[in-house]
Symmetry: D2
Subunit: 133 residues, 4 copies
């Protein structure tokens, strides 16, 4: 059984910070997306290849709890766990933690589905397989 867990380390880039001197709220979604896409690659799912095949992995809901801001120079880790929600929906439980002190930066829950070329929800085999492993 493959682990449905994944951890990826990042470094804040200065262009991601806004006039408050902290990472802008929207940028955390970029971090979370990148972590999810790297994670699903380890399950054999390539987001870009899916898009070319007109199978669109889409987010249907995002819940984000902002706990502490990241600032220039911060290193952090995005931990991602995948869980099945329904035959056509999956959830990513994601957490951002600052490396220097282990502070919790953000907790997120991202619910997604996959839409085939007709716009019908249908999970790709690789995701269904992952849940069965």
């Amino acid at each position: 059984m493959s682990e449905l867990n994944h951890v990826l380390e990042f470094l804040v880039r200065d262009y991601e910070c806004d006039m408050q001197g902290v990472v802008n709220n929207a940028v955390y979604q970029n971090y979370l997306e990148h972590a999810r896409h790297e994670f699903i690659k380890t399950l054999g799912i390539d987001f870009a290849e899916m898009a070319r095949q007109k199978i669109n992995l889409v987010v249907v809901r995002a819940e984000l709890d902002y706990k502490q801001p990241l600032v220039s120079g911060d290193r952090f880790r995005v931990a991602t766990r995948l869980e099945k929600i329904s035959p056509v929906r999956y959830g990513f439980i994601q957490e951002i933690q600052r490396l220097a002190d282990g502070a919790l930066v953000l907790q997120g829950k991202i619910i997604g589905t996959a839409l085939n070329e007709k716009g019908r929800p249908r999970l790709p085999k690789e995701i269904r397989d992952a849940f069965d492993r």
Copy 2:
């Protein structure tokens, strides 16, 4: 009593679209933020001026329900409503609607607070006044 409602129109820009040919998930947070900042300006609150005074308006939670994607060329409207949640928290109820057909694109609830220079939550007078009007 001033209306705690605001509507702002936008046009999708091509650089906001990702390889699926739709507006990237994170970009909706940019739209919502811009709409909120334009809204609070009508209440006498300038986000940039606040930041210069070291009063930081911050988001503590975001809930985003993605209903329909926006694509290149779409015009849309962000409607924003402000409500008091507690003495130190406020909520923005936001909705994105595509202009061409009125389709609901996204529903969001953004909970925020204001932190003074010491990092203590304290709503600026202009927001408290807005709630009292």
Copy 3:
């Protein structure tokens, strides 16, 4: 003969500003791109439609002279002029001007071409026609 000139007005959005409190350098390229895409639409060329047809309009060189920074709340205008450079290359001469005082913010020259599905440079008929008008 259609005018090979175009002007588009924008408002700085707070998320476009970085920790220096000014619009981040890279964001000006977003502004310029959006202005170019709106401009070529008036010539009958839709960037997104081209991309779907696998005709890729691409930038081969950008020269950007930063004169004055834009800050939160600034309204500005992007003026764009199109000129033919060679049978397969065109140039956009672009200028950003702050509305409040007419200050010159940025001068840019963006050289582009169009690549067909085989990656060969070939200008679309609409652009060639525009030059012949």
Copy 4:
């Protein structure tokens, strides 16, 4: 004498790609900026700290030659070299190379200066020292 050279490796993130399925033109400026800021850190200059001290490192001109697009999954390297241009100006010669095949992706020349609180150009001691080493 410290080397005025620096190399940083990156991985394309999917949100950086646009509807053509390639990294958007503006995003390369993000890459270049991040590489420059990491480079100057090795010279003892922290961009964020400078900004807090109201010494603003600013770009006055950027020249970017786009050679090959990067796509989802590409790993690449940004090589940066710093050279003195005048008592108040410095230039970064930057090159992006795809790791898989060594293809040249982009060549850039970024000319910058530093402005003190009064907006007068004046290079910080650390940069002047770097040139003298």
